[in-house]
Amino acid sequence: MFAPADKAQADETAQSLTIEEGKKLYTVGCASCHGTGGQGTSDGPSLVGVGAAAVDFQVGTGRMPAATSQAAQLPDKKVIYTQAQIDQLAAYVASLGAGPAIPTEEQYGPEGADIAKGGELFRNNCAQCHNFTGKGGALTHGKYAPSLEDVDPKHIYEAMLTGPQNMPSFPDSTMSEQNKKDIIAYLGEVNTDKSESPGGMELGGLGPVSEGLFGWIFGLGGLIAVAVWVAARTAKAKKS
């Protein structure tokens, strides 16, 4: 049994322990590029003030730790830290300077979201880079907006909040929490492996390019194969 004051104290102790653990992980895995105090080096930007959300996104999607700082863009890859370790890292980086916190399920969950409004917001704010239903698209000089299919809603929320790499941020001051919730709900409807595609195979959801290819190769190609059969001479009886 703890008295409320004890509980607060215990939380604080737990918190500082977490930060301590995070610092250890940071020193081993991150400091070489981002500097020992997160102040940044020529190989990596400063992490002061990026907040826990940024760490959770970057490390939670495997973008960090990066293999190189020279690539046009860091791809998502296998996550090498456990969620507990990521939380410790996030807590440490958050302690360096105030920044956006990791969103809670309540913030990005589907309850109370307006899917249609989310679609409209998505088309206004996101589709220009990520395509109508979040299939991704090209940016300049080899950079790209990645596909959003089956990305964890939490990570989508964090990306909007923090603007990783070249993605601009959409802070709560210009895109409300409700806006973000709506957008995530829309993506959950149209861009998961369970999303409906009433017309049949969605052909990558890329629009006329993949449709044109399919039309040429399977449509016209199939019909030409049929035409070859129609026009071919029937086999002659063997001369005996």
């Binding site: 899917i115 589709a127 880079c129 109508f132 090209a138 017309g199 049949g200 390019v209 016209l220």
Partner: protein
């Protein structure tokens, strides 16, 4: 009828019902004379001769499904709030056109299928016309007397592009709206009259509230009406000219060998219609096309990446994407070359192909009829030119999808654009040279086959120990086929002194033609056919080596 004085006693009253109906119709329409010429008309068999049928049948499918769609589509840009059955659009503002397309897709039973058949058939129609046109081009089927029919076909292709484009724009979705915006921007680039055309076409500023209704009448009435007329004319000419055929034993420029319309081609061509329709319906059942519910209603301030037109406008899109942004300002006016040059190139690029038959016939000076098709290798310069044209077209098609290419092959979009910019000029030249060499190589091989026979794959050891491969002589049929093609001699500039000894001026056009003729038919552009003398010398000599 009562004064039938024919010596042959006719008892029409007792004829079978079908005959009586036919007699009745003949008395009014003269169908027997038509049938006499056409009922047993001969069509040669070759799969590539059915490409045009694919086009014809997809056109019919498009008309049938299109009529169905008009029953449900509302060509109106009135803004409505959506409250239909598609959840992710609830409460969204959209035009009636978009809302009714959603209704066709989600509430009309079978509406989605018909929409998808309509759109897939359009994609196949244009692809079919492209391949059909290439078949005609590479086999020289456009030569006299078929130049006019080539133009009809060309017009059908171009009108098909615009019919497709206007149809694609009708649902007023975010993707097609972006395409319409592009069109409007391109119209604005036209010097002097651009802004006026734009205002008149859109009933004011873009997007206005008129273009869907206007595109609708263009899409369902004006363009298809013209196309229907052209299709009929195209077919009448095909019947009238009788189909071309490939060279072969018994096939001459004065006959046509094949199967009769009744019954074989009734069965094959009639059956092929059902095959094409059935195949398109299957595709529409399993593959989604233009899922407008994902695209959202059009808003001029929204856009999605991967904004492409349907494939047949892709090369125009590529031209626009590859063009550098040139703009000239002078005396208070702007010449928007960055948009206007691609617009002009688009027309020129197609026009070259349309005019090609006339250019070639001017170079050859040949005024005879041609009903035997060329094998592409036997017309190396024409074939090389065609391949160069297709190469430029394909490079622009890649350019039109440069963003998709970039993301799927992990390339930089800037690098892809530069590849397209350079490729547009270099690609066709390389393609021309390579194709011509391949054609000449194939001609040489044909010549070898005729003179030395076919490689049999059988290795024989000669008495003195040498191994040789036995060459089997070709059958007479094969030899005829391989030597049946005609070879032109290059035209020369006529004598510079006329019959009265007066020196005449050699016109520039004459010199140009002599040069082109040399390029087409000079020593470097064709391998002389084997002659009888060569053949005799080899066959009477030391056996087949």
């Amino acid at each position: 009828m009562s004064t039938n004085t024919s010596t042959e006693p006719r008892s029409r009253g007792k004829a079978p019902a079908g005959e009586r109906v036919a007699d009745w119709a003949d008395g009014r329409l003269g169908i027997y004379s038509l049938a006499k010429a056409n009922m047993r008309k001969i069509f040669p068999d070759h799969w590539s001769f059915m490409l045009g049928e694919i086009c014809l049948y997809s056109f019919i499918i498009i008309i049938l499904t299109g009529v169905y769609l008009t029953l449900f589509f509302h060509p109106s840009m009135n803004e409505v709030e959506y409250h239909g059955s598609y959840i992710p659009m609830q409460g969204q503002l959209m035009s009636e056109a978009y809302a009714s397309t959603l209704e066709i897709s989600f509430d009309v039973r079978g509406g989605l299928l018909i929409r998808q058949i309509h759109h897939w058939a359009a994609v196949i129609f244009l692809a079919g016309m492209f391949v059909h046109m290439m078949r005609v081009f590479f086999t020289g089927a456009f030569r006299k007397p078929r130049e006019i029919n080539w133009l009809f076909g060309f017009l059908l292709f171009v009108l098909g592009m615009f019919t497709g484009f206007t149809g694609y724009s009708l649902p007023d979705d975010l993707l097609s709206g972006t395409g319409v915006r592009f069109t409007q921007g391109a119209i604005l680039s036209v010097p002097i009259v651009g802004t006026y055309i734009s205002m008149f076409l859109f009933g004011g500023e873009f997007p206005g509230t008129d273009f869907v209704a206007r595109f609708y009448s263009i899409h369902i009435l004006l363009l298809p009406g013209i196309m229907l007329g052209l299709v009929v004319a195209h077919l009448i000419l095909v019947f009238y000219h009788k189909h071309t055929q490939f060279a072969g034993a018994g096939r001459t420029n004065k006959n046509v060998v094949g199967m009769p319309l009744l019954p074989v081609y009734m069965g094959k061509a009639g059956g092929f219609f059902f095959l094409v329709f059935g195949f398109t319906a299957l595709i529409a059942g399993i593959a989604s096309i233009n899922p407008i519910w994902n695209l959202g209603p059009y808003r001029p301030d929204m856009v999605s990446t991967g904004a492409q037109p349907d494939w047949y406008m892709g090369f125009a899109e590529g031209l626009v994407r590859a063009m550098p942004g040139w703009e000239i300002n002078f005396w208070g006016h702007t010449l928007v070359l960055g948009v206007f040059i691609p617009l002009v190139l688009f027309g020129l690029f197609l026009a070259i192909l349309a005019l090609y038959p006339f250019i070639e016939s001017w170079i050859t000076g040949d005024k005879r009829e041609h009903h035997i098709l060329d094998r592409p290798r036997n017309a190396p310069t024409r074939t090389a030119f065609g391949v160069a044209w297709v190469t430029a077209y394909m490079i622009m098609l890649i350019g039109g999808g440069n963003d998709i290419v970039a993301t799927h092959f992990n390339l930089s979009i800037n690098a892809v654009t530069w590849f397209v910019r350079i490729g547009f000029f270099v690609g066709p030249v390389v393609a021309f040279v390579v194709t011509k060499r391949i054609c000449l190589g194939l001609q040489r091989r044909d010549k070898d086959k005729v003179l030395h026979g076919r490689e049999s794959g059988i290795i024989k050891r000669l008495p003195h120990g040498e191994f040789i491969e036995v060459h089997e002589p070709l059958s007479q049929e094969q030899m005829y086929t391989l030597t049946a093609h005609e070879q032109y001699k290059p035209a020369e500039i006529g004598p510079e002194v006329d019959e009265n000894g007066v020196k005449r001026k050699v016109k520039g056009s004459e010199k140009l033609r002599a040069k082109l003729s040399e390029a087409y038919y000079g020593e470097e552009s064709q391998i002389p056919k084997p002659t009888v003398e060569e053949y005799k010398e080899i066959t009477s000599g030391h056996g087949h080596h």
